[in-house]
Symmetry: C4
Subunit: 236 residues, 4 copies
Amino acid sequence: MSPLDSLLDDLVAANRILTGLGVLDGFGHISVRHPDRADRYFLSRSLAPELVTREDLQTYDLASNVQDGDTRPPYLERFIHGEIYAKRPEVQSVVHSHAATVVPFGTTKQPLRPIFHMSSFLRTGTPVFEMRERFGNTDMLVRNNAQGAALAEKTTGAVVLMRGHGYCTVGGTIAEAVFRAYYTQVNAELQQRAIALGGDEVTYLTEEEAKLSEESNRSVMARPWGLWKAKFGLKQ
Amino acid sequence: MSPLDSLLDDLVAANRILTGLGVLDGFGHISVRHPDRADRYFLSRSLAPELVTREDLQTYDLASNVQDGDTRPPYLERFIHGEIYAKRPEVQSVVHSHAATVVPFGTTKQPLRPIFHMSSFLRTGTPVFEMRERFGNTDMLVRNNAQGAALAEKTTGAVVLMRGHGYCTVGGTIAEAVFRAYYTQVNAELQQRAIALGGDEVTYLTEEEAKLSEESNRSVMARPWGLWKAKFGLKQ
Amino acid sequence: MSPLDSLLDDLVAANRILTGLGVLDGFGHISVRHPDRADRYFLSRSLAPELVTREDLQTYDLASNVQDGDTRPPYLERFIHGEIYAKRPEVQSVVHSHAATVVPFGTTKQPLRPIFHMSSFLRTGTPVFEMRERFGNTDMLVRNNAQGAALAEKTTGAVVLMRGHGYCTVGGTIAEAVFRAYYTQVNAELQQRAIALGGDEVTYLTEEEAKLSEESNRSVMARPWGLWKAKFGLKQ
Amino acid sequence: MSPLDSLLDDLVAANRILTGLGVLDGFGHISVRHPDRADRYFLSRSLAPELVTREDLQTYDLASNVQDGDTRPPYLERFIHGEIYAKRPEVQSVVHSHAATVVPFGTTKQPLRPIFHMSSFLRTGTPVFEMRERFGNTDMLVRNNAQGAALAEKTTGAVVLMRGHGYCTVGGTIAEAVFRAYYTQVNAELQQRAIALGGDEVTYLTEEEAKLSEESNRSVMARPWGLWKAKFGLKQ
């Protein structure tokens, strides 16, 4: 199997893994940048992630134009992916989710912060993208390149929250983007519980702890990825 | 397969989907209006939704009298359906549920409001039907046409909450009524979490955002419906 | 199949149903009174409820002495059952559970109250059995007839909470005791959420509503019972 | 089968049981001391617990050096196990977990306390290990013998919380360590709910109740263990 084949199989697996982990339901998506052409990325056609197969993948340029004359309907919000790839050359994979534990944080002034070591990547901040600021009242979807670019501008770290909508995570690999999408969800649940117990007196990771922890986590990221592929990746 | 056959298959599937999504358990029901006769609707006989098959469907007139001499026991609360169809000609499908995240909202002064784009249909308001106002102490069930009509009068938008009981959603199609029943449940969970984090300072969708979002959602409603049919619709 | 055979099959099914519904885990139990001998009851030997089969059932007198020379270890807390049957002639079935949503109510001054119509049986009150009052410091288990009798005395209605331990429900049939065990669990979850939203301003059922609702529920109790038997009752 | 064989089979089963119970996910581990050599313990190589088989087990000395020239990558945090075995001769099994209900307690001043009889083992206290006190900013992992020894020193009872990380439980048998890991998780959920209902006015077990209860629980610990082995222990 070619490296590209293997990467695309991983993209299919990631769709099912993210559903299995409760990060995605009927909505949300994950993409990967083309390994040989930095100006192309792969994303499923408009489809519930759980149903995605290799045949459903489409190729896009960074303006999110579909390539190869593929006429099947694309996700309305593909611009999220294209604009983040354009803005962030080091990013290789992008997840967009509506996970229930995370959305509430984007609607309040309570910042999402790293409360345990698995989510230390949150140290780079969890800015909230408020669509209304630049675009006024919209249908909340990231529907064009201008909106995608505004979101990408806000995406300065590993995670961006989208008010009244969801969040995105980025990664240097599919596994990292998935890991971050999952542990953002877990961190939100832990933080919600901690705030209910301790109010403002919750101890979060220090900046230095989070930095050291994030480096350390990179060395073990293959472990959950292997598990998740075994559990969810091949399910029909 | 005739359009009517296909519609009734969808009604059976919807019973199983709503159970799979946790919207219904042993109680609750979904109906669809007859596509060719606006004065008739279809609803299962009294049965747990998960067990409903094509053979269990009954035909009712809008006074909720069973047709065709069918003598099998009907749901006690069929009047919910009949009176809403009588009052709201555009409604084609009605769901009644006791979902656990939603019931608490009907018992407090905290209004259920659209907190994310998937539940923008809540923009038309979530009035609380207080049976006691007009009927005094009852067994809480909507047991006759007068009670059904009072509920229908309160059902001015997509959703009506029933104090100490549950809620109903209506839709222009089965898929829309199911979509709304599910995302009402999700919105209630998100809003409960957001209030715990931010108290009164939670940002909800503006009226205009919700309106634009609802129009937009109509174009993607087929995606979760297809997924749900594939996952739950055919399960025995 | 004789009526007794059918009753004992239902007792086995109820063990699995209560596990399937999350009311029981490795601990807790359900019994039924002998239909022909009011001074006898049936209960499994000490075993996780999920594993109970017909062969595991034992017969007890109301002092909770095992009959027929059966030497297999019994549940330590069988006295709960014997003493409730002795005190309450109309009771035919008893459930004892540690369900997670209910235990917290027994540890605070927040009374568990009927918040929706399915749990209207809570109208008869949810007294808290405080073992320490009469027996001082114990291992919290109901280990003898004196402790069982004290609990039975407190069990004036459908449900009794046990501080730091769990709760019991009683019923006129196995199906009713199971129904009440399940909806006590559901009510606790709904009430916890409602209090978080509305504090002291939560609307509960009035006494009259609850009374009417309870009568009404008796007529539909067979519906979830049939569903639960189909879903969980026969699982290995 | 030799007693050692049977013990190692139980260790494999415990890995799957802890995953099945939600105590472990892709991370966390369980070890057992060698029954014949108090200076050796068994632990899987670095692997998601759900995937562990007999072939994955490695042998360590109490300085957590792998034995027999086994070159497969070990868990980074094996020092937790070695140092606890070194410090606590009576301990035969150690679990390390990130369970979501427990982590929040380690980040606030709210002590985890025994709220019901199944978790009476919490009576010996739930000290919080704050890595930062002695080691400054770290990646939060217990990466060497010095850090393991500091944790072991704090592990004076059945459970130790690790701020921003997770917790450990110890036991005189695998079944006891697993039982404690599970009921620590359950207690945290119950206590979180009770605090939301009753604030500071929650009734916990008295010291004497907890002591008596813990003795009593030892006699029934085989029951959930048998159930868990039957349900989860042999799953692939």
